[in-house]
Structure formats: structure tokens, C-alpha cells
């Protein structure tokens, strides 16, 4: 190829490349707008804060403070607190070097978790399928399923039975509960409570596969609502909170981690 042809081809190719880049740019502009800031360009720390946040969504800034204080007390360089998020396990520990892979249950760090996430709340209402089964798709993890409310038109039957299946494919229910309708005050529309005692643990959403409820008893059911707790804090005490991030220690180990809470409070100043 002659030189001018080479240059021509290179020119056209670069133009093509630029057109492709411009075409793709609107898709990423929001995410990369901060790239234009020199502070963002010059500091990896700034970039990590930008993408993962002080507290939300992945709690980089807060975790860094906790891990720094934690490592002064815990000599094992591989141990870290249990980290809980409001939606799914983001594994922010991988952001740090060396990565601490071993979860130490005596300290729990909550990331982007409001007070309400630590108390019972509505998981959601189930929808009824053509097969008469009730399905509930849970889009986040719940530690506990505490109870289920069934709104039904009660009739002459004595009992209402509720069965919970982890998925459509499961043939064995993970929980069965029966309510004695005869104790109900009146016949007609009423809300019946199925309380899980003890609460069902590890109520994970499992790849958006819905949980399935079967309600038997010959009643006309209008509504099925599940309640649960996102993060089960039983046995833990919150020793530090900053916005929607917090640190809690296990009751049995509170003496050991006194210094941790002091350091974290000091870091607030």
C-alpha cells in the first residue's frame, strides 16, 4: 500500500473509532462524569468513595474506619466482622488489602441499613396463581420470617392450614401452620395470623424464585402477606452508628470490643 493510502485508511479508521466512542458515550456518561474532576483522577481513595460510598451502597468509607480499628484489637489478619447489607452481599471486604476472608460473628457491621431493617416489617404480599397457589417474590434477603397474615372470608370450616415451600419445585414444605378458625370472634371477612415460633431463618430470595404458599381449608382467601426482619440483631448490641451504617458487638463479647466503640466514636470527631 502506498503511504498516502495508509494514512487515508488510518484516518478513516480513527474516524470510525471516534464515531463508535461517541455513540457509546451516552450510556456511560453519568457514571463517569466525575472522571472529569482532577481530584477523582488523582486519588484512588476518591474513586472508591465515589463508587462504593461512605455508607451507601457498599460502605467503603465506614468499613475502612471499622476495619482499621478492628485490626488493632484482632491479631488475626484474615478475620473481619460479619458485614450485612440491605439488599445483597456486596462483599466490600474485597476492596481492602489484604482481604480478610474469615467472618468473625462477634462483631457485625451494618451497611446502608435503617432502623426499620432491624425490626419486623412487611416482606410483601403474595399473588395468587391460576393453580390456586400464592407466590411471593422477595427481592432482598431477610434473616427471619416472623409471621404470615391471611385475609379470608371464613365459613363453616374449623381450620385453616398454611404451608410454605422454598420454591415451586419443592415438594416438601419448610413450614406448616394451622389456625383454629373456631376461636375467631365472628364469621365473615377476617385476618388470620400464622406466627412462626421460632421464626424461620435465612429467608433468602434465592435468584428471584418466588416462595410459594398453599392455603387449605375451604375458605376464600383474598390476601396473603408475609412479615420478617432483614437483619436479626438478637444477641447483638449496636455500639456505633453513623447514618445508615452501624457497628454492633455480640453481647457475650462486649468487653473485648469496648476499645472498638471508643475508637469509632473518636473517628466521628
Amino acid at each position: 500500500m502506498s503511504l498516502w493510502r495508509r494514512w487515508a485508511v488510518a484516518g478513516i479508521a480513527i474516524a470510525l473509532g471516534l464515531v463508535a466512542a461517541i455513540r457509546l458515550s451516552p450510556k456511560v456518561s453519568d457514571r463517569y462524569k466525575p472522571l472529569l474532576s482532577s481530584a477523582f483522577l488523582s486519588s484512588r481513595e476518591q474513586r472508591l468513595i465515589h463508587f462504593f460510598g461512605e455508607c451507601e451502597p457498599a460502605g467503603y468509607g465506614y468499613l475502612k474506619r471499622v476495619l482499621t480499628a478492628y485490626s488493632r484489637i484482632e491479631p488475626n489478619p484474615l478475620k473481619r466482622p460479619v458485614i450485612r447489607y440491605r439488599d445483597y452481599n456486596r462483599r466490600s471486604e474485597y476492596l481492602f488489602e489484604p482481604t480478610r476472608f474469615e467472618a468473625d460473628p462477634s462483631v457485625l457491621v451494618g451497611v446502608w441499613l435503617a432502623e426499620s431493617d432491624l425490626r419486623e416489617q412487611e416482606i410483601g404480599s403474595a399473588t395468587r396463581g391460576a393453580d390456586g397457589l400464592w407466590r411471593i417474590a422477595v427481592d432482598r434477603n431477610f434473616d427471619l420470617l416472623t409471621r404470615v397474615e391471611v385475609e379470608a372470608e371464613t365459613g363453616r370450616a374449623q381450620h385453616l392450614r398454611l404451608q410454605l415451600y422454598r420454591s415451586e419445585r419443592d415438594s416438601t414444605p419448610v413450614w406448616t401452620s394451622t389456625v383454629d378458625v373456631a376461636t375467631a370472634e365472628r364469621v365473615g371477612r377476617q385476618t388470620l395470623q400464622f406466627v412462626a415460633t421460632p421464626p424461620l431463618r435465612e429467608f433468602r430470595y434465592g435468584l428471584v424464585e418466588p416462595f410459594v404458599f398453599r392455603v387449605d381449608g375451604g375458605f376464600s382467601v383474598d390476601r396473603v402477606t408475609a412479615y420478617g426482619v432483614v437483619v436479626d440483631m438478637q444477641g447483638y448490641r449496636v455500639v456505633h452508628r453513623e447514618g445508615d451504617c452501624f457497628t454492633a458487638v455480640e453481647d457475650d463479647h462486649s468487653d473485648r470490643w469496648t476499645q472498638l466503640s471508643h475508637e469509632l466514636e473518636g473517628s466521628n470527631d
Binding site: 485508511v9 479508521a13 470510525l16 463517569y32 472522571l35 483522577l41 463508587f51 462504593f52 462483599r91 476472608f101
Partner: protein
């Protein structure tokens, strides 16, 4: 800014030096065997695969980190020394080759350095392995540490770790190896057609280099790496043909060390290559050389395929556990009952390709012009077309058999599984376009049947007689 430039430079240099050194060993070995020398792009990929495989093997066998680092470092150094000793001519990439890819390379390096690995499962699977290699945590402990899919292989992560660790750069910078692999593929493709002067072919090449690119290739997930590697294996078959079977077959099996489905891709590649010329089967048996080459290749293929399951067994992992419970099928009845999924699968595949007309339309056009009556489909394109078809069948089978929630699995995995065959589709388009647009006197690769035994020997022993090294 200076710090950022330093990281970009160090990561890029380290990402190139190590693999290219090991690649030099490949080049020396191939030349010694009388084969044609791999081009720079192919060299890089051969080196990178070897570096990753060495680390994975060393780590899986419980060899100390220092020893493995020394082994990889000295192998690379030996490669460089050998290249210098045999006065390996430093190949130069032409202006028209380098300049068009420069914006992509610069933007890609910038992305790898600037954008931390995102905290999504798909990326964390591989980042976790890089972090575990930093600490040289034994493979036997992977299962206890709560990482996602501990049963997955990690050749790509191993090479990624090598880059970030030796360069002492932030972990995300190590992903430049995936960018370089992608670019290496395109360099290798062009080098195969070095004598092609057609501007149309060159422009097509540039167009596809940009069109096939996506951030998914360099953001840490391994499908892009598998896509480029499957393309490289296909390219190696095209360049070295049957004579290269002794080493290309084991190399193809190396795909199984990148991702689990790499094993199936390698099987399809090997099957399609040999299936693309069944008429050669009767000549293999009486020909001692052919027989030995094939036997050697087959033994190497099976041995490399067996490496990961063997390492799993050795480290207390279950090799039968492919992807959790996704493919644990309890009865034939389930398989039969899931046949009604096919219309949905076909629709999803159709939608995927409809959204990517830049590859679909050229590919369909290439198929159309290749299959018109009177047109003879050569072995290379039969091989590539066969791969595309069987790969599609493989993807359909996955979704037919999956025990994960069907709709979810289809939405989550179909695009990335289909993407693994994209570069082979591009190769088919490019091979066809080259045939159409290149004047016969400029063609560097003999394709037509050759009548005389002497010419036949030249074609079989392609080597220096048919192809020249450019870069």
C-alpha cells in the same frame, strides 16, 4: 494524574512483558518443530495462557508462592533470552494497524485503571480468586471462605493476579491483560492476512475491532476472555491446520481452565476442525506422522481437560459440582417436560442477534454468499460455520436443561454465553470478505485443492512456505 499515568504504564508494561516472554518460548518451540512462527498477537495470547496455567497448576498443587513466581519469572526471562539469542526480528506493527486500535487501547487502559471492580456477583467470582491468590490461600480452603462458586477454575484470575502483583499496582489495573488479549486477537487476525491490501478488508477489520468490543470484555468477568481465547484457538487451527494438532488441541483444552463451559467450547472447536474435512480420515491411519500428531494432540487434550477436575479432587472439591445445583437433573421426565422451553429460547436468541445487527447482518450475508450454488465452501469456513452452529446448540441445551428458574437464567446468562462465539462469527465474516475482496495474487493462504504431491506438501507443511511473520 502522574500517579495514574504511572499505574497505567506499569500495569501495561508488566501485562506485556511476562506473557510475551513465555510466548517467545512458544515461538522458539514452534520454529524448532518446523512450524510457522506465531504472530505477535498469537504470541501474547499463548504466553498469557501459559502464565495463567502455570500459576493455577502451581497454586492448585500447593507449591509455594515464591517458587511459582520464580518459575513464571524465569520461564518468561528464558523466553526473552532465547528470542534475543536467535536474533528474533522484532516485528513492527504497521501504521495502519496500530493507529486505528490506539484510541480503543488508550480508553481501555484508562477504564481498567480508573474503574474499580464492581461489587456484583458476576465480577466478584473472579476478584475473590485474585484476592485469594494474593494471600496464596490453598485451593482446599476456597470452599470454607464463603466465596461464590468455589468450584470454578481461575486461569484468567491467575494471570490477572500475576499482573497486579508483579506490577504492585491496584488490583483493578491488572485487568489490562483482558484488553490486550482482545487486541491481540485482532492483530493476529490481520497478520494472517498480511498480504491483503484491500482497503475494504482493513476497514472491515477496524469496524469489527470496535463493534465487537464491550466493557464486559475488560471489567473482570471472564466471558470476554473466553470469547477472545476461543477466537484465538480457531485462528490457530486456521493458521497451523492439522499439523498443529499436537499443540493446538491441548491449547484448546486450556479453555476449560478459564471457565467451566470452556471445556465444551474446546470440544466443539476440536470436533468442528476435524469434522470439517472428513475426507482426510482415511489418510490419517496409514500416515505415521499424521497418526502421531493426532495421538499426541488427543492425549494432550484429554490431559489438560483433566487438570481442573483432578485439582478439585485433590483439594477436596467436588468435580461433579459444575454450577451448584443448576444441572442436577433428577429424572428424564424433567428433561422431557422442559422441551416446551425451546420457543422461548429461540425467541431470546433471535432478540439477542436482532439487537446486534453489526454482527448478525454481516454474518448472515457471509453465510448467504458462501452457500450460494456453485460456491465452494472451503475447510476453514466449514470449520467456523460448524462451530457457530454447534455453539448455538450448546447454548440452547443449557437453557433446556437448567434447573435454575428458567426465565431468570435465560435473562442473566444468555447474552454472555452467546457472546463467547462472537469472534468466531467475526472470523467467518472476515474470511469470507477476504476471499471476495482480495485479488487472488495477494492471497497469502492457499485454499483451493492442490493436485500435485509437491504442492500438497507445501500446503500441509504451511509454515514458512505459505505465511510470513509480520509482527
Amino acid at each position: 494524574m502522574i500517579e495514574l499515568a504511572r499505574i497505567a504504564l506499569v500495569a501495561s508494561v508488566v501485562a506485556l512483558i511476562g506473557p510475551l516472554g513465555v510466548g517467545c518460548l512458544w515461538a522458539t518451540a514452534l520454529t524448532y518443530r518446523g512450524e510457522s512462527e506465531p504472530t505477535l498477537g498469537m504470541n501474547y495470547w499463548l504466553g498469557l495462557m501459559s502464565v495463567g496455567a502455570l500459576i493455577l497448576l502451581g497454586h492448585g498443587l500447593g507449591i509455594s508462592q515464591t517458587l511459582v513466581v520464580l518459575l513464571v519469572g524465569s520461564t518468561s526471562a528464558a523466553g526473552w533470552i532465547l528470542c534475543l539469542l536467535r536474533k528474533y526480528k522484532q516485528t513492527r506493527a504497521g501504521l495502519t494497524t496500530v493507529l486505528p486500535l490506539l484510541p480503543l487501547a488508550m480508553a481501555g487502559i484508562g477504564y481498567c485503571v480508573l474503574d474499580p471492580v464492581q461489587m456484583w456477583d458476576s465480577y466478584l467470582i473472579w476478584l475473590a480468586r485474585v484476592r485469594l491468590l494474593e494471600q496464596w490461600t490453598p485451593l482446599a480452603r476456597f470452599r470454607d471462605l464463603g466465596i461464590i462458586y468455589p468450584e470454578y477454575p481461575y486461569l484468567g484470575s491467575a494471570a490477572w493476579w500475576w499482573t497486579e502483583w508483579t506490577g504492585r499496582v491496584p488490583v483493578e489495573s491488572g485487568r489490562v491483560i483482558f484488553l490486550f488479549t482482545y487486541l491481540a486477537f485482532f492483530l493476529a487476525v490481520l497478520a494472517r492476512h498480511e498480504q491483503t491490501t484491500s482497503i475494504r478488508v482493513r476497514l472491515l477489520w477496524v469496524f469489527f475491532a470496535y463493534a465487537c468490543f464491550s466493557l464486559e470484555i475488560i471489567n473482570g468477568y471472564q466471558d470476554g476472555f473466553l470469547m477472545a481465547s476461543a477466537g484465538m484457538v480457531a485462528l490457530a487451527f486456521l493458521q497451523w491446520e492439522d499439523r498443529g494438532a499436537a499443540w493446538i488441541m491441548p491449547l484448546a483444552a486450556g479453555l476449560s481452565l478459564i471457565k467451566t463451559e470452556g471445556a465444551i467450547l474446546s470440544l466443539i472447536l476440536v470436533f468442528c476442525w476435524f469434522g470439517s474435512k472428513l475426507s482426510r480420515v482415511p489418510t490419517v491411519q496409514p500416515n505415521r506422522l499424521d497418526r502421531h500428531v493426532l495421538l499426541l494432540g488427543a492425549v494432550g487434550f484429554v490431559s489438560i481437560l483433566a487438570i481442573w477436575p483432578w485439582l478439585q479432587l485433590r483439594n477436596g472439591l467436588d468435580p461433579v459440582n459444575v454450577q451448584g445445583a443448576a444441572f442436577r437433573i433428577r429424572s428424564i421426565g424433567i428433561v422431557v417436560s422442559q422441551l416446551d422451553r425451546f420457543p422461548t429460547i429461540l425467541r431470546a436468541i433471535g432478540l439477542y442477534y436482532a439487537q446486534r445487527p453489526w454482527i448478525t447482518l454481516p454474518f448472515l450475508a457471509a453465510v448467504a454468499v458462501s452457500l450460494v450454488p456453485g460456491e465452494r465452501l472451503d475447510r476453514q469456513r466449514r470449520f467456523l460455520l460448524g462451530f457457530v452452529a454447534l455453539h448455538l446448540l450448546f447454548v440452547m441445551t443449557i437453557f433446556w436443561l437448567t434447573q435454575e428458574p428458567f426465565e431468570w437464567h435465560l435473562g442473566a446468562a444468555l447474552p454472555r454465553l452467546l457472546s463467547q462465539g462472537t469472534l468466531v462469527m467475526f472470523l467467518f465474516v472476515f474470511e469470507t470478505a477476504t476471499l471476495w475482496w482480495t485479488p487472488i495474487e495477494h492471497m497469502s493462504i492457499a485454499r483451493q485443492p492442490v493436485p500435485s504431491p509437491q504442492r500438497f506438501a507445501e500446503v500441509v507443511h504451511t509454515g514458512r512456505a505459505q505465511t510470513k511473520r509480520t509482527f
